[in-house]
């Protein structure tokens, strides 16, 4: 590993990224050539499933802002997913037949009724609407601490799916089309003009061989990278440092002049924003928003990603999110059928996917007990937990950290003390 040492330490962190991103971008080209009889996992995910996986990762990175940075346990993140998906349903489908509004939508005949706004704009609008939803949920509840906040968010995570399920008859008005969901939803695309000019696809449909899955895949990869970038920049911003201060000690952070309510509400709004975009993207990818998608379990599933990866650690969450979402989409089924044909006798076959959430429960408990810092720990978090296990803090938090950490100074760690 002599070559590895030659890379300056501050750039080492970028090496995995420089390997992973090209591998991910070219994934649709080599996935079909991969073997389909890999031991245990059998196959790697198809491009179609990868889209779903990456959407979950986007949401996990969003939840990481709320849980990982700000330390607010949100057990109802699925509500944001639902709001995002239904916003896309309202703004890019024929749901509201009373209206005929078109704005930049591609491949939709202008005589079709309903609201049809360009999907790119809808993604952004869904993010904004969901962020407003997050603020509305946050304002009354963020004054509460700990357990109470968790239960209230859980309550919202139950109310919103029930609302969309029953929202087909609100005083006779069909808002959500009940259990049938809103479908079809418009597909994204760049339109004829951009297609002629720079060759971008007109519309994400079957006119793009072999399937539009590749387009959806690259797009969600772009959304994920953007989410990760925003998330990193936020973490190092004044707001991000305020979140971390609140996470570590809310009372002390308040005493230092951090506006607690405003800062926590921002965490909610930004977490919700990412969740909303992910929800809207899933809606356009599946061409529908269905109430059965927004189960309470999704919130736990996403929480498990954040815990496994390491609360606050972006790359950890991306890694854990990819693994767990893959397990959810096809991994458990594959592993289960491998186990059933190779390990368990035919008299004792086990339906592994059935116990999916028990497995997540085990992961959560084991991680919290034995490795609370996660797979790839965030540096600051790691130290915090290690200090916690050593006993009460009798030295000032920040001086202790910056001083004897080699290399901490060069990234300006000591200047990152929240100024209040």
């Amino acid at each position: 590993m002599a070559e590895w040492r030659r890379i300056p330490p501050r750039y080492r962190g970028w090496v995995p990224l420089l390997v992973a991103v090209p591998l991910a971008v070219t994934y649709p080209f080599y996935v079909t050539g991969l073997p389909t009889n890999i031991p245990v996992i059998l196959t790697l995910p198809t491009v179609h499933d990868s889209v779903t996986i990456l959407v979950f990762v986007v949401m996990a990175v969003g939840l990481n802002v709320v849980v990982g940075y700000a330390g607010l346990l949100d057990l109802g993140y699925v509500a944001f997913y639902a709001i995002g998906a239904y916003t896309a349903g309202w703004l890019a489908s024929g749901q509201f037949q009373q209206i005929n509004f078109h704005f930049g939508a591609v491949g939709v005949n202008s005589s079709e009724t309903g609201i049809h706004i360009s999907v790119w704009l809808v993604l952004l609008l869904a993010g904004v609407v969901t962020a407003i939803g997050g603020i509305l949920i946050g304002l009354p509840t963020l004054r509460l601490r700990g357990d109470y906040l968790a239960i209230v968010t859980l309550g919202f995570g139950e109310i919103i799916p029930q609302f969309v399920r029953n929202g087909d008859d609100l005083h006779g008005f069909d808002l959500t089309h009940g259990t049938f969901g809103i479908s079809p939803i418009d597909a994204p695309g760049f339109g004829q003009t951009l297609h002629n000019a720079v060759g971008l696809p007109v519309r994400y449909d079957n006119s793009f061989p072999p399937t539009p899955d590749r387009l959806f895949f690259w797009t969600v990869l772009g959304i994920l990278l953007l989410t990760v970038f925003c998330s990193m920049r936020l973490r190092d911003s004044r707001l991000g440092r305020a979140w971390i201060a609140i996470r570590e000690d809310e009372t002390a952070a308040g005493a230092m002049g951090i506006p607690l309510m405003r800062t926590k509400t921002w965490a909610y709004a930004i977490g919700a924003f990412f969740g909303g975009i992910a929800g809207a993207y899933v809606a356009t990818f599946n061409s529908g928003a269905f109430p059965s998608q927004f189960d309470f379990n999704i919130s736990i599933f996403l929480l498990c990603m954040v815990i496994l990866g390491g609360m606050g650690s972006i790359w950890g969450v991306v890694l854990a999110g990819t693994i767990l979402a893959w397990l959810n989409v096809e991994g458990l089924a594959n592993i289960g059928s491998w186990l059933n044909s190779n390990v368990f006798p035919s008299s004792h076959q086990i339906d592994v996917p059935k116990y999916e959430f028990g497995i997540y429960g085990i992961i959560i408990v084991l991680m919290m007990l034995f490795r609370p810092i996660g797979l790839i720990p965030e540096r600051r978090r790691k130290r915090e937990i290690e200090e916690g296990s050593l006993g009460p803090l009798d030295e000032p938090l920040y001086e202790m950290r910056g001083a004897d950490e080699p290399g901490a100074g060069e990234r300006g760690e000591s200047e990152r003390i929240p100024r209040g």
């Binding site: 029930q162 429960g361 408990v365 007990l369």
Partner: protein
């Protein structure tokens, strides 16, 4: 009657055992960890327990043979009041009295309250904090067991029934005021009445499709406007 009493004792003992084991295995190690860690572990634990019963009982609903006669005690107009409904009160009232006595008047109850206020100070005063917390978990498990039998007398049960019930129980406890035993009973009665009126009244009620939303809306409203609950005192956790 003997079989009934035995059912209660066995189920309560089993609930106590399960809950104190969970405490011993999972939560005890996290005693000094941040609060978030315990909460998250509890969520994980609930999923593990749920999936164990999924493994044993599968996804079908189960019921037990009738323990209590469902004959009517009296009938007013069209309203029937049956023995099995009365049985719930017959069990709840003594349990409430017993529990109040335990928490208010016994040494064990006193150490429980002291530990909940300040574990460190309680330990300095010579209270065995670990044992006290174990006892509290065992007690909670036993009560959940009693509640489960009462529930089974009337309804079917599925591997995930407890999740909804637990949430409703939490809402009831918050409504009454956390830490207040009579408050919890009052809160539970209110929630039950609200549910029943919502599902039973045909006018001015959203109907059974909205019951869960209604219960959670109450929870949120209480936490926001009166976090100490109807009968409770203000705690630092609330406001």
């Amino acid at each position: 009657m003997g079989g009934l009493a035995a059912t209660f004792v066995i189920v309560a003992a089993f609930g106590a055992l399960v809950n104190s084991t969970i405490e011993f295995v999972a939560y005890r190690r996290l005693r000094n960890a941040p609060r978030l860690a315990v909460l998250i572990t509890a969520v994980g634990m609930s999923f593990i327990v749920e999936n164990i019963s999924l493994g044993i009982y599968d996804v079908n609903a189960h019921s037990i043979p009738p323990l209590i006669s469902s004959a009517n005690i009296f009938t007013i107009g069209g309203v029937h009041y049956s023995w099995d409904a009365f049985f719930v009160i017959l069990v709840t009232a003594p349990v409430l009295v017993l529990l109040t006595w335990l928490v208010k008047s016994t040494r064990q109850g006193k150490s429980m309250r002291a530990t909940s206020q300040d574990p460190e100070a309680a330990a300095i005063m010579g209270i065995d904090v670990n044992r006290t917390i174990s006892f509290a978990f065992a007690l909670a498990g036993a009560l959940a067991g009693v509640g489960a039998v009462l529930f089974l007398v009337e309804f079917n049960i599925r591997y995930d029934t407890g999740f909804q019930l637990g949430l409703i129980a939490f809402t009831a406890a918050v409504l009454g005021g956390i830490g207040n035993l009579s408050g919890a009973v009052v809160g539970a009665l209110l929630i039950g009445l609200i549910q029943a009126f919502n599902e039973g009244l045909s006018w001015f009620a959203p109907g059974s499709d909205w019951t869960r939303s209604l219960v959670f809306a109450i929870l949120i409203a209480i936490l926001v406007f009166r976090p100490e609950g109807l009968l409770g005192e203000r705690t630092p956790e609330g406001a």
